[in-house]
Amino acid sequence: MTDAGRSTVGESDSDVEAAIREHHPALITYITAGDPSLADTKAYVEALDRGGADLIELGLPFSEPVAEGATIQAAINRALEAGTTPEGFFELVADLETEAPLLVMTYYNMILQYGAAPDVRPFVERAAEAGLSGIIVPDLPAEEADPLREACDDNGLDLVFIIAPTTEGERLDRIMSHVSGFAYVQARLGTTGARENVSGATHDSLARLSEYDVPKAVGFGVSEGDHAAEIIDAGADGVIVGSALVDIIAEHAPAGTETATRSDAPGDAAAALEAKAEELKRGARRGADTITDDHEKEPEPEQP
């Protein structure tokens, strides 16, 4: 039930870890559930699955998304205005049949409040029942994670931790020793959001993490196939893409309104998402090929 009871990654029977290892280099996609409606989300998730996503994160919207940039904040607002609730979210998940395992990404208070008075277990149990494979909580650092980690362990869910550019030294060791599913490597300081290039911090982080033998996926700012290639080339096992996909959804949302009504053209959006996923997956593969060609992937052997 506590750390002692947890298996290490190498011995895991985690769907999540398996998906990354099997489909290496992996594409992990994020969209917000309920943006602009749960019905649309179903179509979008299926499109991403078709397009090659190996893991799919679904955001359960929370009113105070402090880790998100403008793009995902707006998606969350659309989803909340559409009346997205945890129960609706779980029903959607239960209804989905994707090849890629699903993870829920949400803020800690949403997990605490589900069910009776503050307790993480009802949420975790319902998540497992609905078929989710893991949970990502951007405002839950390892130090506060014991109750949720315990509940996840008990229910066979992964609890994915984020490794920031500022995560170093003893804390890094401690968190890496508890990685569940994969290490979510935050590409740069700041919030989520599509960027035009891959930051130097990404390379630094991957170098710092190279000695840990756990799956590493990089997110925050990844928006193009070329980024994916560069990141995989730099040593990652997967890339995580969110804002670039949310942008596509927003473009296809009813014009001139943030009010959440069913998308005018969910079919178009789904097609565009599928195409984007394909582009990103191709990029990731290209990065993997490059590695084989001209990079050392292994930790430097001369280091003890």
Binding site: S63, V66, Y107, N109, M110, L189, G190
Partner: protein, 423 residues
């Protein structure tokens, strides 16, 4: 890092090293006075801030309520409210830590102006995040921050008020954490903020405790302070927490109603301690105004400075353990409190502080002015006792327009005739 079940550090991983660094600095400089930090802090509070602030016997309130009423005059602190105690402490600490830049959120603008003043005083670049709605309705405070050389960044998200400003400041901090210190404005946020802000504000209660003993010869029977985030509350109460014989009353904004409208996502009050439920917001486990799903609702109070859906975790703990008694005063009674102090004592209080004064009227009754001209019966004297301290956390100059509008819309007993102002 916790107070019973409350507190903690519920923040993005990227901020955790900064919180550890801050905790370390807090322990060394604040708790252990390393490099004379606390000496310098106290000296600057005195010379720049104007401490100590007086503890004043309120002659006419004492007469009205037939007991001794003392006012702690934080309205006289530089900037017009207790906010400077914390802002000056944190900006100075950031300087000791070698940080190069200050950011802060502000709602009504009081914490923003205090931080901008402190940053100017200590020569630190400063940016303030403020909701777009608040920017528009609190122009004078925006001007004051700009005059002090701070940049004011309007936040367009959501309803454009305090909650959104905090979110956006946390985003800035998550991006620039290595060289930036985030000056949180109340006893909220992740550890060590609630403890640290309390310790900077504790000067209020420390002074009060000394002053009341000098002036009244004993500790008070009760101490009354308004509570929004809770920085003036904890600052006033902290020194008295070990004194079991001193009752501590935290007065929250009852707004127009204590009911939450969950469909609209609105609480027409800010009565977190009185009506909230446990949850995590802005880095800490505490009492919150939230819907059953866990979405945070928009709070409301006639006093912008109390208008927050959370509260300091230590206050949640002290209420949970029974040490602090929460109470609510609605908009109308707060306005009466505003007018009463203005007319009877020549002190125009902040609308925040007016809630504490409104509570006084209800809990102490009026000695000579009840409807039937009767003095309140002894059994109605409530638990305030015979010697009461009320913290006047700030001055009300900033609230004049609001008070006029709200007064015109009501039939208030203590208000002057405001129609003449139209002439």
């Amino acid at each position: 890092g916790t107070f019973g079940d409350y507190g903690g550090q519920y923040v993005p991983e990227a901020l955790m090293p900064a919180l550890q660094e801050l905790e370390d600095a807090y322990e060394r400089y604040v708790l252990e006075n390393e490099d004379g930090f606390m000496d310098e802090f106290r000296e600057r509070l005195r010379d720049f801030g104007g401490r100590p602030t007086p503890l004043q016997r309120a002659d006419r309130l004492s007469e009205r309520y037939d007991r001794e009423i003392y006012l702690k005059r934080e309205d006289l602190l530089h900037g017009g409210a207790h906010k400077l105690n914390n802002a000056l402490g944190q900006v100075l600490l950031a300087k000791y830590m070698g940080k190069e830049r200050i950011i802060a959120e502000t709602g009504a603008g009081q914490h923003g102006t205090a931080t901008a003043m402190a940053a100017a005083h200590l020569d630190m670049p400063c940016e303030i995040y403020m909701g777009r709605t608040d920017v528009n309705r609190q122009r004078p405070n925006v001007y004051r921050m700009r005059m002090n050389g701070a940049d004011v960044n309007p936040v367009a998200a959501g309803s454009g008020t305090l909650k959104e400003a905090i979110n956006e400041t946390m985003r800035d901090w998550a991006t620039t954490v290595e060289r930036t210190h985030y000056v949180i404005g109340s006893v909220v946020g992740p550890h060590p903020f609630p403890k640290m802000v309390r310790d900077f504000q504790a000067v209020i209660g420390d002074e009060t405790r000394t002053q009341i003993r000098e002036q009244a010869g004993r500790l008070p029977d009760s101490v009354v302070a308004c509570a929004g985030g809770g920085s003036n509350t904890m600052g006033t109460f902290h020194a008295f927490v070990p004194d079991d014989e001193v009752a501590l009353h935290a007065v929250e904004a009852g707004g127009s109603s204590l009911e939450i409208d969950e469909d609209a996502g609105l609480a027409p009050n800010s009565a977190t301690l009185s009506t909230g439920t446990d949850g995590v917001l802005h880095g800490a486990m505490t009492k919150l105004l939230q819907g059953t799903d866990g979405q945070i609702v928009e709070s409301h109070s006639v006093s912008a400075g109390l208008d927050y859906a959370g509260v300091g975790p230590e206050l949640s703990h002290l209420v949970e353990t029974g040490r602090v008694v929460p109470a609510t005063v609605d908009d109308e009674d707060a306005l009466e409190g505003f007018h009463r102090l203005s007319r009877l004592e020549g002190i125009i209080p902040a609308l925040e502080s007016s809630h504490a004064l409104g509570y006084l009227e209800r809990a102490a009754g009026s000695a000579g002015e009840t409807a039937g001209g009767q003095r309140p019966r002894d059994e109605d004297r409530g638990d305030l006792g015979d010697l009461v301290v009320v913290n006047v956390s700030g001055r009300g100059d900033k609230d004049l327009e609001t008070v006029l509008e709200e007064t015109e819309a009501r039939d208030l007993e203590a208000a002057p005739d405001v129609e003449v102002f139209d002439g």
